[in-house]
Symmetry: C2
């Protein structure tokens, strides 16, 4: 299994915090989510993504980007796909997006202690 952690350069870079509640049922969501990650990873400025969803249906995806332009270009792709597929209302009950500039970062590893 690949690491769930994104390998990122030193700050500054950007994060898009995407919090969502799913609708009931899959409605093609699984395939879409996989295709989206694949598509994002080939997008200019994409740095990495981390994602977690609990059994309650609430999930967080933090995607990391080189700059604001990359994020806006990616949003155009997503909006276009959503318009084509009517997927947004099929897949999500509610979501919140926050776009933020990462200023500093640090980590902890048990084996290094």
């Amino acid at each position: 299994m690949p690491s769930p952690f994104a390998t990122l350069p030193a700050p500054p870079y950007y994060v898009v915090c995407f919090s969502s509640i799913r609708t009931e049922g899959d409605n093609g969501y699984g395939d879409m989510a996989e295709a989206m990650v694949d598509l994002a990873s080939r997008q200019p400025g994409f740095l990495g993504v981390e994602s977690a969803r609990g059994a309650d249906g609430f999930g967080i995806t933090n995607s990391y980007w080189a700059d604001e332009i990359s994020i806006r270009n990616w949003k155009k792709v997503v909006d276009h796909l959503a318009a084509q597929s009517q997927g947004r209302t099929e897949w999500y009950r509610h979501y919140e997006v926050r776009v933020a500039k990462v200023e500093r970062a640090y980590s902890f590893d048990k084996t290094e202690q």
Copy 2:
């Protein structure tokens, strides 16, 4: 059940993106996590928190703060507690922290479409 979404003011504000892999077993983690959220919510500058952890043990907690000072003060509290309890190595195999300034935010609600 309370909403898993944080209710936040208009940007700018800060987000701390905390991604982690848990150790095996609870080791007091559940009680600690609950106590931490309770403690954070009484901390000056705390705006809200969102959290998701999947069955694979990978989780993301995004906490929202008014400014950098609030985050640094909160980190002092966490470091102090961690030093007291030796909890860090008990609870986490690995974690990554990114501190970022939220510049813009938007949302989507199915019922509003």
